[in-house]
Amino acid sequence: MIQVRKLVKRFGLKTVLRGLDFEVQPGEFVALLGPNGAGKTTFLRILASLSRPSLGDVTVAGHRLPGEAAAVRARLGVVSHLPLLYGDLTAEENLRFYARMYNITNHETRITEVLEMVGLENRHRDLVRTYSRGMQQRLAIGRAVLHDPDVMLFDEPYTGLDQDASSMLDEVLKTVAAEGRTVVMTSHDLARAEDLATRFDILSRGVIAASASREQLRQSNLLSFYKEALAG
């Protein structure tokens, strides 16, 4: 679903990603872990077609970036730590707006369905401005799955959420993953990632330093695997 070969990303003189290789099979849920400043967000923004690679090949959902960005965007759902929602619109209106941008024809039924899925069906006529952080984040996920994407990217979705909101988000994420979508999620919260992901990749010094599936990891625990990868 995602193939990345020798990806390099520079910001001026600073090289953030140094020849990164990365591959995700359909249906995998990959947790991308790493310390702050390792380049997780940068990497995800490149996969999301929001940032151009300096060098290297990136293919998402069968289309190359940045050349076929429009085709990638149509099959991609992105959730970042910002909700990407308009405060002065209601939840329903936000979704209706994005439905038009994605050219979804039966949007009214789809919007109801999505609101139900993220558990906001009772608040759909309230302004997003009045939502709590957790509700905004759930609606942001609703926004991202609206056009039924094959690939989903989550950039630190738990940022700023309290315990309750986090566990509700867990449920939503599990639903999303259960629908057979391919998911890449960055996080610095190992416990959350351990709950959800089927594979764990450690991003360090601009490359994937280590990668292990849930099965491979069964013997050791995630924390020691993480620490080893960063030390190595």
């Binding site: 910001f11 001026g12 003189l13 600073k14 151009r52």
Partner: protein, 233 residues
Amino acid sequence: MEQKPVALKALDALSVILLGITVYLALVFAPTEAVMGDVQRVFYIHVATAWVGMLGFIAAIIPAVVYLRTQNLKWDRVEVAAIEISVVFFFLAIVLGSIWARPAWNTWWKWEPRLTTAAITELLYIAYFMLRQGIDDPDRRARFGAVYTLVAAVSVPITFMSIRWIDRTLHPVVIGGSNPGAEGGFAMTADMRIAFFFALFSFTVIFVDLFWNRIRLGELQEKVEQLKLKVTM
């Protein structure tokens, strides 16, 4: 530290010599203008500085376009070099223009199309540098800089034209119109023409010299940054 290329050194020397000759031609060789007297001599340098300002303004367009196509920061340095030179020379042109305007039109400043356009261009440049200063990411800085350079390049000719039209349509032709310096104008003698065209020529060479030096300086700056980065890593 790499050596300065020989060609550039030669060009530096040539520029200094040409500047010397230009000053001689303007201040000594050219005859004193009958009506305005010696102050008219500033005219040779004034036009030459404005000319360099314009060269820089036009020269910035090409790297801006190429940068947007290639996203190679090298072109951003070329663009900045051209604009920096243009800023300085337009400023000189405006100041010298005022010095010339004082005896010619009896005022320091006249809202004359060329002078006003030069001033507006200076303001555009200030905006350009403020824009760049507000951006940390070098790629974005270069991108926005190139976009603004192109927007400015399109707007300045229109601005010049519209300021000229004000004179044509609403006011009687006070100054300018198609005939530059209708008031304070003068006919050039052959010697004046020599001084005038020589000044244009030598300032063009000076422009090339400065441009080259400034681009080289940009490259060295980048190298220093790179070395600094290596040391801290």
